[in-house]
Amino acid sequence: MKIPRIPYLLLSALLAQFLVPSAPAALLLQGAGATFPAPLYLRWIAEYTKTHPGVQINYQGIGSGAGIKQFTQNLVAFGASDAAMTDKEIAAVKRGVVLIPATAGSIVLAYNLPGVEDLKLSREAYVGIFLGKITKWNDPAITKTNEGVNLPNIGITACERSDGSGTNFVFTKHLSAISPDFDHQVGYGTSVTWPTGVAGKGNDGVTALIKQTPGSIGYVEYGYAVHNKLPFASLQNRAGEFVKATTASGAATLATTQFPPGLLRAWPSDPDGKDAYPISTFTWLLLYKKYDDPAVRDGVKDFVNFGLTDGQKFAEELGYIPLPKEIVDKCIEALKSVE
C-alpha cells in the first residue's frame, strides 16, 4: 500500500515532539494589571530574574480593570491596580485578597503653551478648566496666580482619558474631594463623562494629544510627563501653597495617609501639609490570601518582598515615589499573611 506522503510527514513531525527532551521547567509567574506601574514592575522583574534564574515572571500592562478581572478569574498569579479593589470586588474573589501598595506616583497637569515655562494653577483654576468653565488661557483665574507670565488669548483644550483607568479614578477622586461642584456634575470613577475637551486612549494617548494641540492641558502620570519632556504646572494644595510634583512632595502626601485597620487601602485625595503635592496615589499589587500551588506562592511572595525592599531604589529614576519606611513595614506584615 502506498502511504500518502504529506499526512505521513505531518504525523511524524507531530510524534517527534514527544521524543525531543524538554527543557527543565522554570517557575512561571503570570501577572497583569495597571499600566502606570508597568515600567517599574518590568524593571523589578529584570533585576529579580538576574539573581533568580529559575523563575520566569511575565507582567502585562492591560489596565487596572482588566487586571482585576483576570485576577478574579484566577488567570494570573498576581494582579495590579491603581484603584486597588472595592469591597464588592474583594468579595468576589473566593480565595481572599491581600492588597499591597507596591509603589506610588503623582499625577501632573502637563500643558502645551510655547514660551510658558512655569505655570501656577489655583484650585479654582484647574477645577474650572476641567469643568469647562474656564475656556481661555488669559482668564483672570489663571492670570492672577501667574504674575509676569505672558498667557496668550487662546482657547484651553482639556485632554482626558477615553478609556477606563486608575489614573482617571485618582484624578477625579481628587477633583471631587476639593470641589462639590465637580462631584455633583461629574463625580469620580475609572471612567467619567467629562463636560469638555478631547480624550485619548492611555497615558500615551493623552500625552500625544497634549503634544499635538497648542493650548492644551491634560492629566498624565509624572513619569510620562518627564519622559516626554512636557512642562507641568504647580498646583495649589490644601494649605494654599503651590507645589510642583517631585519625589519629596509626593512622599509628603503619602506620609499623611491613614490606612483603615486590616486593609492597606486609602487615597490621600486632599492631603494636609505645606509641602504635599495634592495628587499622589499608591498603586497596589493584588495577591491571593490562599495559593493552591506552594511554589507559585513562594515565588510571588519572594518577588513582592524584593520589590518592597531592593526594588524601591529603582522607583525614583523611573518617575515613581519610593514608599516611606513605615508603609513598607506594614506591607511586609501584610505579605506574611499570604498562605
Binding site: S162, G164, G197, V198, A199
Partner: protein, 306 residues
C-alpha cells in the same frame, strides 16, 4: 429525468463542513454579543439609541452621540470619496492616457486599501491634524453661523476623522466603479459616438447613468466599511461622549467607544457596550448585504448585453 448518482466522498464532506462552519461562526458571534447585551436591552430598549447621556460612574447609558458620530463621519467620508472615486474610475476606464499609466494608477489606488488602519491614524495625527488646526479657525470664523461649523475648532475632531476615513474608503469606491464602467458593453459607447455625442456627453449622459447601480453598490459597501472603521477614527476624533453637531468639535463613534471602554468595563457597562456592538454589527451586516445584493443584480443585468 435521469437521476445522477451522488457520491458522498471526503471532498464533499470537507467543503460542506467548511461552509457550515462559516455560517455557524457568524451566528455564534451574533449570539455572544446578544446574550450579554440582554440586561441593557431589557432596561432601556430602543431608548438606548435616543438617550444622550453616557455616564459610566452613574450607570446611565445612552448611545445617541456615538450613533450620530458614526453616521456623520461615514456620510462625510462618502460625500468626499464618492466624486473623487467616480472620477478616478472614469479616468481609469477611458483612454485619455496610455494603458500602462492607467495600470500604475489603478495599482496605487488599490495599495491605499492595503495600508493598515493604525498607519492611517498615525498619518492623520502627523499631517491632517495640524492642517485642520490651522484652517479650522478660518472655517469656524467664516461659516460659524452654521451649526455644522460652529465653535472652537479642534484638531481632533469629526472633520479630521472624516477626511482620513474618506481616503480609506476611496479604494473601495474606485475599484468597484472602475469595474462597472469597464464592463459596460463597448456597443454602448460605440452607439453613443455613432449618433454624434461628444466624449463628455457620452460619459455623463450614457455611461454614468448605466453604471449608476454599480456605483451605488460601491457606495453602500464603502459606507459599511466606514461605519466599522475603528483604530484610525479613535486616534483622530477626540473621543468625546458629548453630542455635538459641529464638525470641528471632537466626537465619538460606536466602534471607537467599544475600543476605548471595553477593556476596563464591568457590570452594566459591559451590557451597554455589547448592546452598542450589536447595533453596529447588525447595521454593518445589513448595509453590506444590501450592497452585495445590488452589486449582484448589476452584474447579472449587464452580463446579457455584449
Amino acid at each position: 429525468m435521469k437521476k445522477t448518482r451522488r457520491r458522498l466522498d471526503l471532498f464533499h464532506v470537507l467543503t460542506w463542513v467548511a461552509s457550515a462552519a462559516t455560517v455557524f461562526i457568524l451566528l455564534w458571534i451574533l449570539e455572544s454579543i446578544f446574550t450579554p447585551a440582554l440586561p441593557m436591552i431589557q432596561r432601556s430598549g430602543l431608548g438606548f439609541f435616543t438617550s444622550i447621556a453616557w455616564n459610566v460612574n452613574r450607570d446611565v447609558y445612552g448611545a445617541l452621540p456615538f450613533v450620530i458620530g458614526t453616521a456623520m463621519t461615514s456620510l462625510i467620508a462618502l460625500i468626499l470619496a464618492l466624486p473623487l472615486g467616480v472620477f478616478i474610475a472614469l479616468f481609469l476606464s477611458e483612454n485619455f492616457l496610455p494603458f500602462w499609466i492607467r495600470q500604475v494608477i489603478r495599482f496605487v489606488v488599490e495599495l491605499l486599501a492595503a495600508i493598515p488602519s493604525v498607519v492611517y491614524g498615525l498619518w492623520g495625527i502627523a499631517v491632517v491634524i495640524p492642517i485642520v488646526q490651522q484652517f479650522g479657525g478660518v472655517l469656524a470664523n467664516s461659516l460659524g453661523f452654521l451649526p455644522l461649523f460652529q465653535g472652537p475648532a479642534f484638531g481632533n475632531s469629526t472633520l479630521t476623522a472624516s477626511l482620513v476615513l474618506a481616503l480609506m474608503v476611496l479604494p473601495t469606491i474606485t475599484a468597484i466603479s472602475r469595474t462597472t464602467l469597464a464592463n459596460l458593453p463597448l456597443t454602448l459607447r460605440e452607439g453613443s459616438y455613432a449618433i454624434g455625442a461628444t466624449r463628455w456627453e457620452t460619459i455623463f449622459r450614457v455611461l454614468l447613468p448605466s453604471a449608476a447601480p454599480g456605483i451605488v453598490a460601491a457606495t453602500i459597501l464603502a459606507f459599511g466599511r466606514a461605519m466599522g472603521e475603528t483604530m484610525a477614527v479613535a486616534m483622530l476624533i477626540g473621543n468625546s461622549p458629548r453630542l455635538s453637531w459641529s464638525l470641528l468639535s471632537p466626537g465619538g463613534t460606536l466602534a471607537g467607544l467599544l475600543a476605548n471602554q471595553f477593556g476596563e468595563a464591568s457590570g452594566l457597562q459591559i451590557s451597554a457596550l455589547m448592546y452598542a456592538a450589536l447595533a453596529l454589527v447588525l447595521l454593518t451586516l445589513i448595509v453590506n448585504m444590501i450592497g452585495e445584493a445590488v452589486l449582484r443584480h448589476v452584474e447579472k443585468s449587464t452580463a446579457g448585453i455584449r
